[in-house]
């Protein structure tokens, strides 16, 4: 099948393209990107007034399958991704069983091929059983399709094991993803430690709990020469260390989430557990630092840390509630509305942070409109205005602190390998 996407503003940061162009797609590949393409026998997509980009990549999602299908499964999670404008997602290994071996990774990919609607690239564990003591068989994980390793929510406590993990992963150019949290400092904390934790009477999680571990990972990356990627960096100190390490030539990259870029700890005063997330929503000074990091290249990509939860684990006492935000379906709109429309981030920069940015972190052949590349394409409607209503989410996780917000600028069409998955913001 042929598609001709006509008359949109094509933004492809990897190829330095920004202009009104047409894109011709056939057999799942990009055939041509040019002005006024003429051809025949195609399905026309009128992209006038729209922004046409390489397919967006979210390198940090939790699809919950296998094991926690009541929270999310690959079918619902990938539909949420597509509706949110993502054509590729990387799923974290904290499933049950965890993705610490080739067969579980293969299961995830096979399920994704059968029931999913976007590309799913699994992330394997760093340690067997996420237990933090023995390394996983990384070569086998790679062979099974894993693009990175991470123990995610169970940060590797033992510095020697992390050193070995980095040293070993380096052989395969495999990025080591680190959820940076010194758990003895974060223990029992419910929100960012600061003025608002004092005001609202919560035990806080200090910025230092993240920063201590960021500093360790940078030091170990320098020691080993490995590529370490800091997940959901959320503090000014983390950004400063990453900026400095990059300048020193350390192979460190990082992602930030839309919620850390757009929300502050002040909203925890609602005592609504949809505001509960780890790392926690930070204070304004940290939010400002993250935004500066987007502009100066310290931040490599935006990732959602999509963490869908079942209603019962959010509709309860705040302390008992699970951490996490269902982020796939609001990420792009929230960034468009809160940063791009406010003049705080160029749309080209945003596209980079959702496309070639994460692709380069992972070393995957995605995130561009190169001729011959898979036709993964995200089309945004910068004029669409919608209220965030979790009841309409494709995700099973309705947990979002963005609920009720009116946002302008939404994903309009999502094309995966030449097939239109989402049209007008809805799954086809």
């Amino acid at each position: 099948m042929k598609l001709l996407i006509r008359g949109g503003r094509v933004i492809d940061p990897a190829n330095d393209i920004d202009g009104i162009m047409d894109i011709l797609v056939a057999d799942g590949k990009i055939i041509e990107v040019n002005e006024n393409i003429s051809d025949e026998g195609y399905v026309l997509v009128d992209a006038g007034g729209k922004i046409v980009c390489p397919g967006f990549i979210d390198m940090h999602v939790h699809l919950r399958e296998p094991g926690f299908e009541y929270k999310e499964d690959i079918a619902s999670g990938t539909r949420a991704a597509a509706a949110g404008g993502f054509t590729t997602v990387c799923c974290m290994p904290n499933t049950d069983p965890v993705i610490d071996n080739a067969s579980t990774a293969i299961f995830v990919r096979e399920r994704a091929a059968k029931s999913g609607v976007v590309n799913v690239l699994p992330i394997g564990c760093i340690s067997k059983g996420q237990a933090g003591s023995e390394l996983t068989e990384m070569a086998e994980l790679i062979a099974a399709g894993c693009v990175a390793v991470s123990d995610d929510g169970k940060p590797v406590k033992n510095a020697a094991l992390m050193r070995n993990a980095m040293d070993y992963a380096k052989m395969f150019d495999l990025p080591v993803l680190s959820h940076c949290e010194e758990q003895s400092l974060a223990a029992d904390g419910q929100m960012h430690e600061g003025y608002y934790s004092t005001l609202y009477g919560f035990k806080g999680i200090p910025a230092a709990a993240e920063e201590l571990m960021v500093s360790r990972e940078i030091i170990l990356a320098e020691l080993t020469g490995a590529h370490v990627h800091i997940c959901h960096a959320s503090t000014r100190g983390s950004l400063e260390m990453i900026r400095e390490a990059k300048a020193m030539g350390v192979d460190v990259t990082c992602e930030v989430t839309p919620h850390h870029l757009l929300l502050t700890d002040e909203i925890v005063g609602s005592y609504d557990a949809d505001t509960k997330v780890n790392p926690p929503l930070r204070s304004t000074e940290h939010v400002q630092a993250l935004r500066r990091g987007l502009l100066d290249g310290t931040v490599d990509c935006i990732a959602t840390d999509h963490a869908p939860h079942h209603m019962e684990s959010k509709d309860c006492e705040y302390n008992l509630a699970s951490f996490g935000i269902s982020g796939l379906e609001t990420a792009v709109a929230a960034v468009m509305d809160g940063l791009v429309n406010q003049g705080l981030l160029d749309v080209e920069q945003m596209v980079q942070l959702f496309t070639i940015g994460p692709a380069e972190v992972l070393g995957i052949d995605k995130g561009t409109l190169d001729v011959g590349a898979d036709a993964d394409i995200t089309i945004l409607d910068p004029t669409m205005v919608k209220v965030v209503d979790p009841a309409n989410f494709y995700s099973k996780g309705k947990n979002t602190p963005f609920k009720g917000q009116t946002l302008k600028g939404w994903p309009w069409m999502t094309i995966v390998k030449g097939t239109i998955i989402v049209n007008g913001g809805k799954i086809v």
């Binding site: 004092t198 009477g201 919560f202 005592y271 006492e317």
Partner: protein, 313 residues
């Protein structure tokens, strides 16, 4: 004036000075009722209230119960320890179950911050927060303010020291929010590990030295120190704590001659307060308990539809 427009009382922080004054003023005639031989008025006849305490309590639960009874409300206590909560029933289901029995008002205490707010959002009953985690204990602050105002005639401009574990204290937070609305100069004193971050942004002065904090104050509110805090490494020993922060007769000399000493109870005598001070002439600790009943009567009365004029005329 009534308090009817307010469905719940969850914290002092979001209350106006006028609302606080209304409650304190209404508590004055309520205290008279407690002193009567026949301590019963029909003000809340036909109303039903339930106390639900997920944490232990002597004073607060009993005083809510007797306050309701003095006003002729039907009062039920849910014994959490012997309830279906022990079978794993969720808070949401427990609340719903109670609500459909027809209660007008629920008093809830819970070990977790924000739980009263959660309950209030999920029920049509009126909700009074009787303490939520380390957040607020609004009726304690009301009775503290009542006790101070009764003795001093006013709250305006008083110097009040709050001493002890400020970090974990819902009593401290509610007192800070309340007293600051009346123009008090508030000082907090305690070890640095028990001082919340950026506390001075709440409009208080913080001290590590108890002697400095007590200098010239009109009121000292001594907080209970929980022994678990020592075990979790926040201070080295109860002995050292007592050496640094116990309110003793010597230290009391730093305050004004007519200083009032408050303590929300239960006390650790010899740790945060010496027995001489606890039982001394400046202590209003026992009277606080009586005032607690009066203030809670006022609150129940105002929230379940009473007008202050009804009780004074």
């Amino acid at each position: 004036m009534k308090l009817e427009q307010r469905k719940d009382l969850l914290g002092i922080r979001d209350m106006s000075r006028e609302e606080l004054e209304l409650i304190l003023d209404t508590a004055i005639p309520m205290k008279d009722i407690i002193k009567r031989d026949v301590k019963k008025v029909p003000a809340l006849r036909g109303k039903a209230m339930v106390t639900v305490f997920y944490e232990n309590s002597t004073r607060t639960r009993t005083s809510f119960e007797i306050a309701g009874k003095y006003l002729s409300a039907d009062t039920v206590n849910l014994a959490v320890a012997t309830s279906s909560v022990q079978k794993g029933e969720s808070l949401r289901d427990t609340i719903k179950t109670i609500e459909v029995m027809g209660f007008d008002l629920m008093v809830i205490r819970h070990a977790m911050t924000g739980t009263a707010h959660y309950v209030a959002r999920n029920t049509n009953m009126r909700v009074i927060n009787a303490g939520d985690g380390t957040n607020e204990h609004p009726t304690q602050a009301l009775l503290d303010m009542y006790s101070i105002r009764e003795k001093k005639g006013t709250l305006e401009g008083l110097k009040v020291a709050i001493v002890g574990d400020i970090l974990h204290s819902r009593v401290a937070r509610s007192n800070i929010y309340g007293l600051s609305k009346f123009g008090c100069e508030i000082r907090v004193a305690g070890p640095s590990t028990l001082m919340p971050p950026e506390i001075e942004k709440l409009g208080v002065k913080s001290y590590y030295s108890l002697d400095q904090a007590l200098d010239g104050v009109d009121v000292i509110n001594v907080l209970r120190i929980q022994k678990e805090r020592q075990q979790s490494g926040l201070f080295p020993s109860l002995d050292e704590y007592a050496n640094l922060y116990m309110l003793s007769p010597d230290r009391l000399l730093r305050a004004k001659d007519d200083v009032l000493v408050l303590h929300p109870g239960p006390m650790n005598r010899g740790v945060e307060i010496s027995s001489q001070v606890a039982d001394g002439v400046q202590s209003v600790i026992n009277e606080q308990v009586t005032n607690g009943v009066a203030v809670r009567m006022a609150l129940l009365f105002l929230m379940m539809g009473g007008s202050r004029d009804e009780i004074t005329n």
